[in-house]
Symmetry: C2
Subunit: 210 residues, 2 copies
DNA sequence: GCAATACAGTAACAATTGTTACAAAGCTTA
DNA sequence: TAAGCTTTGTAACAATTGTTACTGTATTGC
């Protein structure tokens, strides 16, 4: 494990911290679609992402959901940090967007490392910062964009995350992420196809224009 | 100044830190409506709020805006923290919602205090946490609520912040906060009045039901 | 191959929100 | 008090988004 952590986090953390991570962390390989965090559950570990991507969603009381942001290599989940520090229940849902490798850190270490390592402190601050910015960018999308532009942005985000121009998903799944209905997504995708921006296949969308 | 800081922040910070705040901080009284932070400007101080309330808004490139959250006594602006640490330009706008007293801390102190004082570290973490939660709650409103419920929630938030059931504002101002048009707000307010939830006057809305 | 299921296309219609336009009422200031 | 500005009320209409219903076409499992 130490090699992969060092490779991805070596520029951020000092050797001593890397060694501690190696000692207490648990390496995990998560398959695409696996639900890492359920709303309402307590969180005992925080994930350091080595490779792959995690999709973080908000879910309301009716089970309606909305995509908040993606986490990638080098990221951690600020909501997890929050929950850990406050010992709150999770208010979000996290699902592996692609096959993902990560290291689980027991939350007891959080406090200690925050005091002990400046690099860890900076990492945690910068994670909060990134997540706050991304959450606000999500607000930008919902508040200032129409559904067609939100859809296009979503498709572009997905290609960026998966490093391919072909998105394997259904219209229904996109509708869940953007909190709208399948019919609306099908309608707008068809419009995008007519404009030559995408090519639609079953379970699969090719993004042509970037 | 020290007295007011001690009164509002004494339970959070140790005496030594309070003394430092007293030394380097600048006490300010801000009138309602004053623009504290403009989007695009650089931030050199972070505010610790003693009393009153600050309204924090997101503004897009077209000048469209949307209310993100309110800051109250004991709060600081996490976006400011972010900007300070990253030396980024402000991505938000902040306006005094009521007359407000606050202490401005030069950002150079941030780093030092984060290393030196555990209480400061916890304060910063908990500020980030609060702001992240509130930003996500704003997403809940925009994504899951219709405009009538968003309006009602907004009115309730305003009464909570100003500690009075009478809101002094115009329909246009509410429309700006919720990023919709004045006509829409007038229409929905009228509906609320017919339901007996509010009483409408010029420049002033009384919230009857809570 | 066949039935069951999942996925996508489309039409028709409803609900919500946004826009334009104009009138009336209240406040401000000369 | 008259003129001018701000604020609110309202109607009529447009655009966007949501809903229901039905069709056809892949895909899966037997």
């Amino acid at each position: 494990m130490i090699k992969e952590i060092k490779y991805k986090y070596g520029h951020l953390f000092e050797d001593e911290l890397l060694e501690e991570i190696n000692q207490v962390g648990t390496f995990k390989e998560i398959p695409e679609g696996f639900e890492l965090i359920k709303p309402g559950s307590y969180i005992k570990y925080m994930p350091l992402i080595i490779s792959g991507a995690i999709k973080v969603l908000r879910e309301d009381h009716d089970g309606d959901e909305l995509l908040l942001y993606f986490l990638e290599q080098g990221d951690t989940c600020a909501m997890t940090l929050s929950c850990c520090l406050g010992h709150h229940k999770s208010e979000i849902k996290a699902i592996a967007e692609t096959d993902t490798k990560l290291v689980m850190i027991p939350i007891e270490k959080m406090e200690a490392w925050t005091t002990k390592y400046k690099s860890w402190r900076n990492f945690v601050f910068s994670s909060y910062h990134k997540r706050l910015i991304e959450t606000i960018e999500t607000i930008d999308s919902i508040a200032f964009l129409n559904m067609d532009d939100r859809l296009l942005k979503h498709l572009k985000d997905k290609t960026k995350i998966s490093h391919t121009k072909t998105i394997n998903t259904t219209h229904q799944q996109i509708a869940y992420d953007l909190h709208t209905s399948r019919v609306v997504i099908s309608r707008l995708l068809k419009k995008l196809e007519k404009k030559g921006v995408v090519k639609l296949n079953r379970n699969n969308i090719e993004v042509l224009e970037m």
